[in-house]
């Protein structure tokens, strides 16, 4: 997941063999891991490090190097942490190995829904899910007697009421930063109209659902901070933490930030629910994401065996118990809290998984670049969608998909 293009945080934590506290065996072989850098990965890699001889690279821009690093022979890392998007190039490039036999050997404690299967073969082990879900200030909703909205149209009605009551600076927040974030917002709302992004490999967004999506985004943006086109998730999180907005559709992984007494002024006031739908019979306008581990192909079977065993130690109950609030864990021993309500509601309501294919990357980029032209009024809805399709087709031709 692309969190920020600028901040690249690399934490190298080579733990010495001081403690084997919660590791079942003494690891003697070197195991190197690479993954994104956020709380959940820190928890997992720290738990792995307890086995000894583990060095972890946590890098928020890891996607730019992971492909080449795993294509090297022998691979530079044994364990690669991935998410929906970053999993695709590794899978397509044949850089990761099937894990069926290893799961049989060491995976007794895994939940069945942790296994990412492609064509019947287990290719990755998920550790957590993440999704954008609805977060709202319960105190404000109660004061104004508002019901939690289930569609975006209801959000607009509520936003108008909150605006009139003048309790917060802006009723609504949204991660509408042009680029990756804005592209995802479009995809979320568009898919909830039960519409398809593609027809085969051809784009098919220039339709009624596409226009409705753009119009909805524009209507919603009217209730946001006028600088919404530079609002990344961190910006929205801070707005909600500082009591400047009353509701937002934001990443579940950020939920704990609102109960963090050190930085939040709204402790205990933010509640979660499923993401509103675009139409009443749609699914929540969001996508499900997972993060998980894969094992490199270009290493010996023995190394893979050992690396997988160490990785399983990072995904055990002990780790979850110590880091309960850091993620919505799929690992056994996880107990959902008030803050994970929304994400679980999203899942139960069949929110689709963010697609696992290469064309979605091209579409996502094209949307991220062009949707803002409609929001700023430089193009009409139809012109914007045409431009997205044009940019998608150009990029798809260049990459060989078309």
């Amino acid at each position: 997941m692309k969190k920020s293009t600028l901040s690249t945080l690399i934490v190298l934590s080579t733990l010495s063999s001081l403690s084997y506290a919660s590791c079942d065996f003494k690891n003697t072989q070197e195991v190197k891991t690479i993954s994104a850098s956020f709380a959940a990965w820190k928890a997992v890699t720290n738990a792995m490090a307890e086995c000894g001889h583990v060095s972890s690279t946590l890098d928020s821009e890891f996607k730019t190097k992971i492909g080449s690093a795993l294509a090297a022979n022998p691979s530079l890392y044994e364990v690669a942490g991935v998410a929906n998007g970053t999993f695709v190039p590794l899978l397509n490039g044949g850089l990761i190995r099937p894990l069926d036999s290893l799961v049989k050997k060491y995976g007794q404690n895994l939940n069945p829904n942790q296994l990412i299967k492609v064509d019947g073969k287990i290719m990755a082990i998920a550790m957590m899910v993440n999704t954008q879900n609805f977060m709202y200030r319960k105190d404000i909703f109660e004061k104004l007697n508002l019901k939690v909205p289930t569609t975006w149209d209801e959000v607009l009605v509520d936003a108008e009421k909150i605006k009139k009551a003048n309790l917060v600076e802006y009723p609504l927040g949204g991660a509408y930063e042009s680029g990756w974030n804005l592209g995802l917002e479009f995809i979320n709302i568009y898919l909830s109209y039960n519409a398809n992004l593609f027809d085969g490999n051809q784009p098919s967004i220039n339709n009624a659902a596409g226009i409705k999506t753009l119009e909805m985004m524009k209507k919603l943006s009217a209730y946001m901070d006028p600088e919404y086109l530079i609002a990344d998730p961190t910006f929205v999180q801070k707005q909600l933490q500082h009591g400047k907005i009353a509701m937002a559709n934001l990443w579940a992984s950020r939920a704990t930030a609102f109960d963090n007494k050190e930085e939040s002024q709204v402790v205990g006031k933010v509640y979660m629910s499923a993401t509103p739908k675009s139409i009443a019979d749609g699914h929540p306008a969001s996508t499900m994401w997972w993060d998980g581990i894969t094992i490199a192909k270009n290493i010996t079977d023995e190394q893979a065996d050992n690396a997988f065993r160490v990785a399983m130690q990072g995904l055990n109950q002990d780790m979850v118990k110590k880091n309960m609030d850091d993620a919505i864990w799929l690992v056994k021993g996880y107990k959902p809290s008030r803050l994970s309500d929304g994400a679980i509601q999203n899942a139960i309501n069949r929110t689709p998984s963010y697609p696992l294919n290469s064309k979605i990357g091209l579409m996502h980029s094209a949307l991220g670049k062009d949707v803002s032209d409609y929001l700023t009024g430089q193009k009409t809805a139809e012109e914007t969608l045409k431009e997205v399709e044009y940019n998608y087709i150009t990029a798809a031709k260049e990459s060989g998909l078309l």
Binding site: K2, T5, L6, K63, T64, G85, T86, V88, P89, N92, G93, G94, P112, N113, I116, K117, V118, D119, G120, V129, E177, S178, G179, W180, L182, G200, D225, P226, E227, L229, I230, D232, K244, M288, W290, G292, L330, I344, T351, S353, L356, N357, S358, K359, I360, G361, L362, S365, K369, S372, T376, Q378, K379, E383, Y390, T394, A395, E398, S399, G400
Partner: protein, 340 residues
Amino acid sequence: MKNKTFFAFVSPSVIIMILFIAIPLVTVFLQSFYVTQTVYQTVKVETCTPSFPTSICTTTEKSVPVLDENNHPVTETVYVGLDTYKSVLETDKVSKLIDSGRFFDVFTNIDFYKALSFTLLFTLITLPLVLGVGLAIALAVNNVSKRMKGPVIFVSLLPFIITPIIGALSIKWLFVSNGLLTRVLEKITGHEISVFANSWSIELLMVFYRVWHVAPFAFVLFYAGLQSVNKDTLESAIIDGASRFERIRYVVIPHLMPLIYFVTLIHLMDTYRVFEEIIGFASQAHVISLQWLTYDFLEPDDTGNRAISSASASSMLTMVGIIILLAPVLKRTLRDQKKG
């Protein structure tokens, strides 16, 4: 100097220039005529992804790369001639817009021309400002008392020391809606201020930031030039009754002319590649530049796709732009040198 000694001195930098400038340039030039594509096949794949309480499994038709016996994706490289340039320049769309009488929409509707018009405007607006502000600081510093000179020079140089991208980010944080300066300005004016919500205000801030950042460079050069102004000429000008302005206009500026050309040259080259402001201000929704366009082609998306060929074509076009912009200045400098 003997030829041999000269070459011995120069050869390391020549070698490095060939390795890191000439060769990459040639490869980028060649790459812009070729497209390397992955060979895809369409297969039915069942994928299971996690959810609560169970996984969601879906079967879809998917395009996946063909792998060779060594497990590497098969790629083909095809010669496409000027096709990539055409798609970057969107020539079809341009002729369509012109045919339908919407010539000016070319500069708002098509990325390349949008970037080009901003880049050119930005370059040409900041140039006189940088020269003027640089000269003003130099003249001012030249006239302060000797004791003050050191500290004043130090302070005026500070903006130049800051890394451009860090400077741009700091400016953004100061002027963003909940930023320090915005808060102060809102208190004073009583209005809500959203600098990053309109393209004109973003552009204004960019110009301000660039001038603030680059003027010290012009200042240092002009200040050095001022030290060698012929004192006799100045004194005779005073005796002849020339005003302060006339002395600057007829004595100081002609003396500084070669330096002014030099600063112009460097500034045009640097500013045409405007990039830090776009990234730092996250302004791509409102304002984009040519260099940002290249970066955007090159930046891999989540699933690892990047448009190397388009990026090469776009950077070649940027280079052509710089050469066209520099040609008159270079010509003038060469002519002056021949005379001198």
